[in-house]
Symmetry: C2
């Protein structure tokens, strides 16, 4: 009886599924074909490279891989807006970098404040409240904030072909994760809506949180102290810590993804790695080796000999954003 | 057509499901009923306390909640055996505590070496290799190690009623996690087989790991440095860091679970908390307030006023271990 129902389901639904085209915003060509070939291979029980569903883990960088990271990281946009919001309570910022330059609208000077300036900025704008309060602040910000170039909500700045790729992998039994240098509590409030990725599948940088009681109610307080930087060599460390399995698919776009690409492609199961190469100055941005955000140099140099796919956004993607005509 | 298939499935399979008794190793009574009432309530769309499947997160302590923690934590058993295995390469251990006492079989003296001794013990026995190597060491150990009292493999020392509870929750759309003070890389190699919990749903204490190249192959090296202690107030912190949602079900057995029980039961959705109370000296062990492992005092004192279920192992469980006649 069970077999009968299964057969019925296959007959009814398989043709429907087969009718929908895979990866519709990808142009036909070697990039799209390489992805499809890999997925076909690891999901075919008769193929020697078959991978069981529970081991089909796919990890995606976020900034520049799933959404735009130019002219600056979305999270930096958040921090800049937070400085403006919090400024009335911080008169000292008028004389203190990087806050002074931010308040004067001089972003070039902000970059000059270096790593210490950036850490101060994150600490002042991302800590000092409970985790619940911070999630609310992030949600409220995303509801109104706009990308500085397109004027679209940041939530519209995701790459349609990459969202299709996430869907395609999930339809083939993959579990999809974000593995980003961004703050995990900055991403989690929106990843389900943007990418279909639930909070527990988002790995990112963290600050220290502490359990404490507020009027006898337990809260987690966000402290102004960096706990873990999930970037570069931190990415395979984060993957191992959170997932405890080695992924078989990885997508990145910068040298910050290099180590996790090495990690994924050196396992027992031959993993697939792809780099999103920003080549479209008209529809998005064109940059690689000289970029301040998402610098791509070493990974690009080694891509060919490591058999990593380099996706050419201009050539490979029919559409970049869903809002394009 | 879709509706027809769905109806057919319901007709065919519902009676089968209803025939299997829920929680068969639990005696009928208020504990079993409280669990069933809670699950029935949060899965009933017409109930005001209904919870969407994606928010049905259940977290379980491991030592003393899912498996025996007496006469000492399983992981301590592992460390003791590792000391014996590694001793030939460490002649200095003959004169150094706690190694000296371990090698002489004097476990009482080991306890006297205090926190520093315990940390030294963990560092010497759990670090210095790659993550892949350590996973293999753990797997090999579990394949042969025996519980000191029963002589059964440690993997047989899980509580049957708790495994049924995990199954029951999952059958009702819950995602089940382990949230343990134990080392995450000690648990992950066995949790899928023991509890049906995959590695990515195991949260535990961690030591620092570092990405490095070994003969140009990326590895993660385990360093002799504690990174995060997932116990007491660390448990809600770990839950938030790894899951990013507040669970609605928690099971623990000691004051080390107190803070996560507070955290789970103070959310917007009314969470359910239960304590496993070790009351059966014949079939397992009887202990609470004066125990060296899994001390239960504060949580027990507050259970009634916080409406936390206290499960009486002796009275509530028909069978504790699957191997019982």
């Amino acid at each position: 009886m069970k077999i009968f129902v299964r057969a019925l389901l296959i007959v009814l639904f398989l043709p429907l599924a087969a009718m929908a085209e895979d990866l519709p915003s990808w142009n036909d060509g070697k990039s799209k074909q390489a992805i499809i070939d890999f997925v076909t291979k690891v999901t075919d029980q008769n193929n020697p490279d078959y991978v069981k569903p529970e081991d089909r883990i796919a990890v995606f960088d976020n900034d520049g891989t799933l959404w735009t990271e130019q002219p600056y990281y979305v999270q930096l946009g958040f921090a800049l807006d937070r400085v403006k919001t919090l400024a009335p309570a911080h008169p000292e910022w008028k004389e203190k970098e990087p806050f002074k330059s931010i308040l004067q609208g001089d972003l070039a000077a902000v970059a000059k404040s270096g790593e210490k300036g950036l850490v101060d900025l994150v600490m002042e704008t991302h800590a000092g409240q409970t985790t619940d309060e911070f999630a609310k602040i992030v949600q409220d910000w995303f509801a109104t904030a706009k990308h500085p170039k397109t004027g679209k909500p940041y939530t519209d700045m995701t790459y349609l072909p990459m969202r299709e790729l996430l869907d395609y992998l999930r339809a083939h039994g993959f579990k999809t994760y974000i593995v980003s240098g961004g703050g995990v509590e900055f991403m989690r409030p929106v990843t389900e809506a943007l990418y279909g990725i639930p909070p527990e599948q988002v790995i990112g940088s963290t600050i220290v949180t502490k359990y404490t009681l507020s009027a006898d109610v337990p809260v987690l307080a966000r402290e102004a102290k960096i706990e873990f930087v999930n970037d570069g060599p931190g990415k395979p460390v984060g993957i191992n810590k959170f997932i405890g399995r080695r992924p078989i698919f990885v997508a990145g776009n910068s040298d910050g993804d290099y180590e996790m690409m090495r990690w994924v492609t050196s396992g027992k199961q031959h993993g697939f790695a792809m780099l999103v190469h920003h080549t479209d100055a008209d529809r998005e941005y064109a940059y690689d080796r000289d970029s301040a955000f998402g610098k791509l140099d070493k990974a690009l140099n080694e891509a060919e000999r490591r058999n990593w796919l380099v996706v050419d956004m201009k050539a490979d993607w029919k559409k970049i954003f869903a809002f394009e005509q």
